[in-house]
Symmetry: C2
């Protein structure tokens, strides 16, 4: 039931692929697989993490809560992503909370193995570094989008992102269904504003909905809108 890291395909997508056989064996022997139900937390902002979580299945939101109750989602993490890595590397408490937005399966890897491999295997360290460099660019892009695009453009982008990253089902609805509140928290806007924009996009024939499910009808129109035409 508990599969071995050595034979885990997920590994191909993240920095663990740069580990040696022996390193991987240690990781595999000490890892703990956990099931997390939609809505449950993996870790909370401010906690001290004893390891990282490698996502085998499902999707998690990484977010930060403000004093006034607003929760900004900074990133969505899914299959192959390793979360908690930043704080383990920096030896700091986590700065974001991770909550499952779909049922998940994750492997907890104690930090000793990560840290010792970081200190001795430059390939692994470089691989982690490359991933982090990529995350940093993405974070910078988000900053720029937040300030240079208006809410309508950001909502359009969010749906394009959801489609290109998580795909759509046979009926053309986005595979990952987020609540309107979560969408608002990705976009950084009030729920009502977000809903109004979704309604507008529906009227214009850009989107379709069925319950909380959302499907993209006119991708080109959304792209043009997001780019500012």
């Amino acid at each position: 039931m508990e599969s071995r890291c050595e034979s885990c395909i997920i590994r191909q997508f993240n920095s663990l692929r740069a580990m040696s056989k022996e390193e991987l064996k240690k990781v595999s022997d000490s890892k703990v697989t956990k099931s997390i139900k939609k809505g449950e937390p993996i870790f909370e902002e401010g906690e001290k993490l004893d390891g990282v979580y490698c996502i085998r299945n499902g999707i998690s939101k990484l977010s930060k809560l403000s004093a006034n109750g607003k929760d900004q989602i900074v990133k969505l993490a899914s299959k192959g992503d390793v979360i908690g890595q930043r704080s383990v590397v920096a030896e700091e408490n986590v700065n974001l909370s991770a909550v499952a937005v779909s049922d998940m399966e994750v492997c907890f890897i104690p930090k000793e193995h990560i840290v010792s491999t970081l200190q001795t295997n430059p390939n692994f360290t470089l691989e982690v570094l490359r991933h982090m460099a990529h995350d940093l660019k993405e974070a910078d892009d988000v900053v720029v989008n937040m300030s240079q695009k208006n809410v309508k453009q950001r909502v359009a982008e969010a749906f394009l992102y959801l489609k290109s990253n998580y795909g759509e089902d046979e009926d053309g609805f986005l595979t990952l269904t987020l609540s309107r509140e979560d969408i608002s928290n990705v976009v950084g806007t009030a729920v009502e504003s977000c809903i109004r924009i979704i309604s507008e996009f529906k009227k214009k024939g850009f989107l379709k909905t069925s319950g909380k499910k959302i499907g993209i009808i006119d991708e080109r129109a959304l792209k043009e809108l997001a780019e500012g035409f």
Copy 2:
């Protein structure tokens, strides 16, 4: 005149301190020191960099220009910071432009030396990784601030940041004088809105100005405002 990296104090503040003597010698032999005048670019968004820049003196803004002409400043880099590192690590073109906001002195270090050290010296790689982990956290914080705080709060934060990072002169004015436009581009707002807020802060006795110079009078008030009281 051209000093050696081995004896450069700046090094203590960045990841170069993790280099061995031999590695550092190669860097020192191949580095090129450049003077950059206020307003001049170090590199531009989209360029392919052949190395990184280690800042010896002065301050640079890292920003991204949008189609509609808005320029969002993502980060200010100063003494000891190494810029261009992210794109060298990720082997990508730079995603941000770097322009001097004060006269600068930088050392250009060809990327071969960085890359080869990354591949062989895990201490160095780990050190770079730690720095990048820190930058990533900061970028995430900026995202959260942009969405959870209003313009007034972000302007207040900007001045507190400028004071705590670059200090003030004997007359109590911020050492780093940015144009109103640059401040707006840090905060992510229209120049006029930014100016109005500065005027308001002056009226309330939080700030003083003299030409384009700005001084903080009531730091506590700014802090409280930024935190949302």
